[in-house]
Assembly symmetry: C2
Homo-oligomer: 195 residues x 2
Amino acid sequence: MARKQGSHSDITGPRVRDAALRLIARHGYAAVSMRQIAAEVGIQAGALYNYTPDKQTLLFDLMQGHMADLLAALKTADLQGDSLARLEGFTRFHIRFHLPRPDQVFVSYMELRNLSDENFAAVEAMRREYEDALESILRAGEAEGVFAVPDPRITTMALIAMLTGISNWYRAGGRLESDKIEAIYWDMVRRAVTV
Amino acid sequence: MARKQGSHSDITGPRVRDAALRLIARHGYAAVSMRQIAAEVGIQAGALYNYTPDKQTLLFDLMQGHMADLLAALKTADLQGDSLARLEGFTRFHIRFHLPRPDQVFVSYMELRNLSDENFAAVEAMRREYEDALESILRAGEAEGVFAVPDPRITTMALIAMLTGISNWYRAGGRLESDKIEAIYWDMVRRAVTV
DNA sequence: CATTTAACTGAACGCCCGTTCATTTGGAAA
DNA sequence: TTTCCAAATGAACGGGCGTTCAGTTAAATG
């Protein structure tokens, strides 16, 4: 039996990506089979190939999609004001964007080594673009004399690692709300870079 | 042909662990087969089972061994002095221990989800013990009035994420030596937690 | 030199993998 | 009502998986 009601491609496509994301976040790309993903959606493995040319592209689409969403959201955030205000904006944006997306974050930062060379390069370029947004804020603040950042590139990596690390312990419905977490981390970020 | 010269178990055992560590760090536990590990060592897959009861235990031994080394080294470091000195000691210890062991760090922080439930619990307990060492320093400093740390547990996670993140970009022979990296990170850690 | 045995081989076990494709299904279009 | 075709099925492909084990090899032992 096929297509029980209405056209399914609009429905099944997203369901495939959702199932793949959840399963890969939980067990890892290499440990999840196409048959498992199909079973989660409720179809046969062969039908997956109506929605992706192969398993590698399915992973790539998840990761590239996440990075594209991230960069688009950052652009929308439209950080303004002096360097300190823009750093606060970036910090709060990062936390607010990442906290509700634990699976995307996990996959995007853990499955890089399972991307083909060219897919890796594409995702890495987007990561670099995001990092550069923070780095330019740090450099501007350094020029203004507001920040003391001897090596902006390293500080960028340090701050992003610190902020992204929240996903390692945060669980929705935990003892701390996003506002509280933002306040704590912004305090640390501010103190770590200001003169 | 077996045992070409001398008793091999003392030699082959470490070579199995070395090969497994390198391959798993590079490709991931699920993506590496016992046959690949055996080929790297130069033996047949079946011979691996002279050195490990199964693949899962091989992974666990690598991860538990790394954590045991870490905890033993921390104990040896024997941090002393006031809270600020002990925090500096911890920071520099963490960097010095982790920098020369990129494969162990990678495996220990990326393959947790591939451990069986009980193996995960064992490794997690050791991680918690390490984290608690830092947290107690932060709490002591807070009590002394030297640190301003509203939530010591979160600050602990934030600092460890920041420090461990060095492994994401550091490459031996890169532009920065360990001393320089220690100085930069200690500066950020100190400013992030002091009043 | 004869014997023992740790270390390893090589084949086999049943099972799961990613992917392809001829065929079937059933809602939508004519 | 008939036709069409998107969306599925289900079987098959070659291959790799973790693990076991009877048999082989050669260093160590007596």
